[in-house]
């Protein structure tokens, strides 16, 4: 036994080499984490003017220190989401049968024509602007989630995620797209960003 030749190549160090490579790749590469808030810019040749009643506009102004002026009143950022929800969900003229708002005279008639108007100063920090965009999106998502739960028994954000998932089949994708569009029609994102006001 003792003097039998060992014909096997020792592969023990192979693991070390592979580990070395593994650690090298772990250090030099990054997992791409591209995520963000999607927006659609208006067309530049869009010069059509529509008359919008004042009650259907929610004005949000951000000043250069990041403070918010909503409908001419100071508002903390944390309350913006609820204000947006209350504004969109108001259903003032009764034409919106899925709205659950207070139907106040001073707020929007119908989510289809309700517009959030966002204005920022040239000196406004980008972080503040994104924080406001985030809260407005959160407001829309809350309402869209509610309607998606009612109609399809699933969150709107979950529908969107499934739609973007590469593993979803084409047939299911079509169905999801139709559902997403249906929800978006109920609460369309009408965000108006007028040219930055200069001081």
């Amino acid at each position: 036994m003792r003097n039998r030749a060992n014909t096997e190549v020792n592969a023990g160090s192979m693991a070390d080499i592979a580990f070395l490579l593994l650690i090298f790749f772990l250090v030099t590469t990054t997992i791409e984490t591209d995520a963000g808030i999607d927006r659609l810019l208006p067309r530049i040749d869009d010069t059509s003017t529509i008359v919008v009643r004042q009650r259907n506009i929610l004005t949000v102004n951000i000043n250069n220190s990041g403070a918010l002026l909503v409908e001419e009143e100071l508002l903390p950022l944390e309350e913006l989401k609820d204000v947006v929800i209350a504004f969109l969900d108001n259903g003032g003229d009764g034409s919106c049968d899925y709205c659950k708002g207070n139907r106040e005279e001073t707020s929007s008639d119908n989510p289809n024509i309700a517009i959030v108007s966002l204005r920022s100063d040239r000196q406004t920090a980008y972080a503040d602007y994104i924080a406001v965009q985030n809260e407005i999106t959160a407001g829309y998502n809350t309402l869209r989630n509610r309607e998606a739960q009612r109609l399809f028994g699933s969150d709107y954000t979950a529908l969107e995620q499934d739609y973007l998932n590469p593993q979803t089949g084409p047939l299911q994708k079509e169905q999801l797209k139709a559902q997403i569009l249906q929800i978006q029609e109920l609460f369309p994102l009408n965000l108006s960003e007028a040219e930055t006001a200069s001081e």
Binding site: A11, G36, D38
Partner: protein, 158 residues
């Protein structure tokens, strides 16, 4: 009656580690495929703001990146400390954005051109004035789908 043979050998054979390299290689290939080497040499500071209501950008073949932020330390003597625009590997002016986006879009296959999304990777300290100028330029070349790149914030505590 079935009898099991008692296999109580005193010395167990050593655990074979021959498959260990295979396992590690598997891990290695996994990481090689899911990660990317950061190819862009960022010349601007790029601390992205955080947000919760974000969407992941799954399809990377139709993205055009625009980086905006204050220049890194070594470029400050030339470009100052005010936020600058970086396209590919060089600093650019607002007026360069239109041609850059058009050129990038031209390089894509025809079926993707209408689906192009411009990803704005903007440092959180940049001013909205510059961003709005950039957005105006994008409107001029009809690149209307944009995405404000953000970091996902952990679930809100308050």
């Amino acid at each position: 009656m079935i009898r099991f043979k008692a296999r109580s050998s005193a010395s167990l054979p050593p655990v074979s580690t021959a498959s260990l390299p295979d396992i590690v290689f598997m891990l290695l290939f996994f990481f090689m495929t899911v990660t990317t080497i950061q190819e862009k040499d960022l010349k601007v500071l790029n601390q992205l703001p955080d947000a919760t209501e974000i969407k992941k950008l799954e399809k990377k073949d139709r993205l055009i990146y625009i980086h905006i932020g204050p220049p890194e330390q070594q470029y400050r003597s030339v470009y100052g400390t005010e936020p600058q625009i970086q396209l590919d590997d060089s600093f650019a002016r607002v007026s360069d954005i239109g041609p850059y986006v058009l050129q990038k879009r031209e390089a894509l296959p025809a079926e993707l051109r209408s689906l192009v999304t411009v990803v704005l990777k903007v440092d959180e300290k940049a001013g909205m004035g510059l961003i709005n100028d950039v957005k105006q330029e994008l409107r001029k070349v009809n690149a209307l789908k944009i995405n404000y790149a953000t970091i996902e914030k952990a679930a809100q505590g308050d």
